[in-house]
Symmetry: C2
Subunit: 272 residues, 2 copies
């Protein structure tokens, strides 16, 4: 297939690198040095978003705030090209798709992958290997477009899971946004409690538990704000459990504490 | 040196295995099958706590609730043996040491190491390699006993950091207890939000963020309760930051959100 990628950062760059062994991939990024880096890595690049068309598929992998504007710019001229987007919050795309030009086709294709680095320099095909790819239909999806999304997800090395936009956003609030919020709160509390470096004291647990605090503030705030209702519900859940834990500690209630920790261990075993 | 180890679980077993290449190590555990496993792994074992003496050092590595009773049983008959204990909360040992028999010597030796497994079966010398060992003086420490603790920590593969009991307990509340509390709250919230298995959806972040929820409820509740005042202060800090995050999300305050996430990223970079 002819596959175009708009936005060659960590995710878009990784998709372009992963797909180019099986497809003719063309990329675009608004940043010239990113385009040069992609070209040096063997990806065909073009100098304007428009030049990504015609294609069989265009994957929109810009920063989250630019995804709907980019889909909007492409939708009226997409022709038979299927528009895919990697938005990690589906509600805004779902709202756009509902009023997008009749005949255009839009499908969400969200790879659950990441690392603390960002940009094309951190991209690699391996990032996507065996990762879950959430394929999310919109009001402008059809069977052929869904099938095409599945093929590209598998060709990029991923494993396909189909879910609705509402289900997607509820799940990522718990899987991505909440761990980010907790890692951030933990890192700040750590720095308020301990002067200077913790490395002399810390086991592996603290490092793992705070790794997501390294997420860029731009990406992090977008994740939290774009999915605000679900994130607030998830935060409310966590805060209620922390209040329960605190109550059990304050009253020395060993039984209640063990019961909470057992529930948590059982949940972890079941979920992961 | 003649080094005895009381309690051959994950930490005691790992210490015995790590120290036996340079020292004559004798171990005791109240569990017969643990003693048999240690014997099979090449550790000399005895059938009673008393038989660990005489020695140059006795390391008490029982579950946390048994540490002070075990020190008490040994203190009056320790002679010149230095008593070391791996308690991950120092306040109870500090209180005991202050009224321990004159002439006995007690030093805290807390390796910041762990894994989700437990018992001698999960023990290994590698667990301790390059880990921080917190050496904590008590009212019954002297220079020679502190030096001996340092030698054993290094011989076990660790890196020595000396700190006071108060400093130790404040730090482990943030480094160990708080990550455990947050991982547990996250795992429970996850299971309340998502039916069934999350594996089809989850990137590496959720798994890392909830790993500590696998801590055994016995160890976990001991960690939280024995250090209650510091843990509650740390929990209060985290809950205040979560409230701030929630407020910023509720009001769509991008600037406040980015500022919090930047502080967190900066703290993580500085601390780990």
């Amino acid at each position: 297939m002819n596959v175009s990628v708009a936005g060659l950062g960590l995710i878009g760059g990784s998709l372009a690198l992963a797909l180019k062994t099986r497809h003719r991939v063309t990329g675009f990024d608004i940043d010239v040095s990113t385009r040069d880096a992609a070209l040096a890595a063997g990806i065909d690049v073009v100098g304007a978003l428009d030049a990504l068309l015609p294609a069989d598929a265009v994957i929109v992998a810009t920063p989250i705030a630019a995804i709907v504007p980019t889909l909007e710019a492409l939708a009226s001229r997409a022709g038979t090209a299927v528009l895919l987007d990697v938005a990690s919050v589906r509600a805004p795309v779902e709202a756009f798709a509902a009023s997008a030009p009749a005949g255009c086709r839009i499908v969400g294709l969200h790879p659950m992958a990441g690392r603390s680095g960002s940009g094309f320099g951190a991209a690699s095909a391996e990032l996507l290997e065996l990762r879950p790819f959430l394929v999310v239909p919109t009001a402008r999806s059809d069977t052929a477009a869904m099938a095409l999304a599945g093929v590209l997800a598998r060709d990029a090395g991923g494993e396909v899971t189909v879910c609705s936009a509402a289900q997607h956003d509820r799940i990522v609030a718990v899987l991505s946004a909440l761990p980010l919020a907790l890692a951030s709160a933990l890192a700040i509390t750590g720095s308020e409690t301990v002067d200077g470096n913790l490395a002399a004291f810390s086991g592996p647990g603290f490092g793992d538990s705070t790794r997501l605090a390294l997420t860029s503030p731009e990406l992090g705030s977008a994740l939290l704000l774009a999915n605000a209702p679900n994130v607030r519900t998830a935060l409310e859940g966590v805060r209620a459990i922390l209040a329960e834990l605190d109550r059990a500690i304050a009253t020395g209630d060993v039984a209640a504490l063990k019961e909470l920790l057992s529930r948590a261990a059982e949940a972890r075993r079941r979920l992961v």
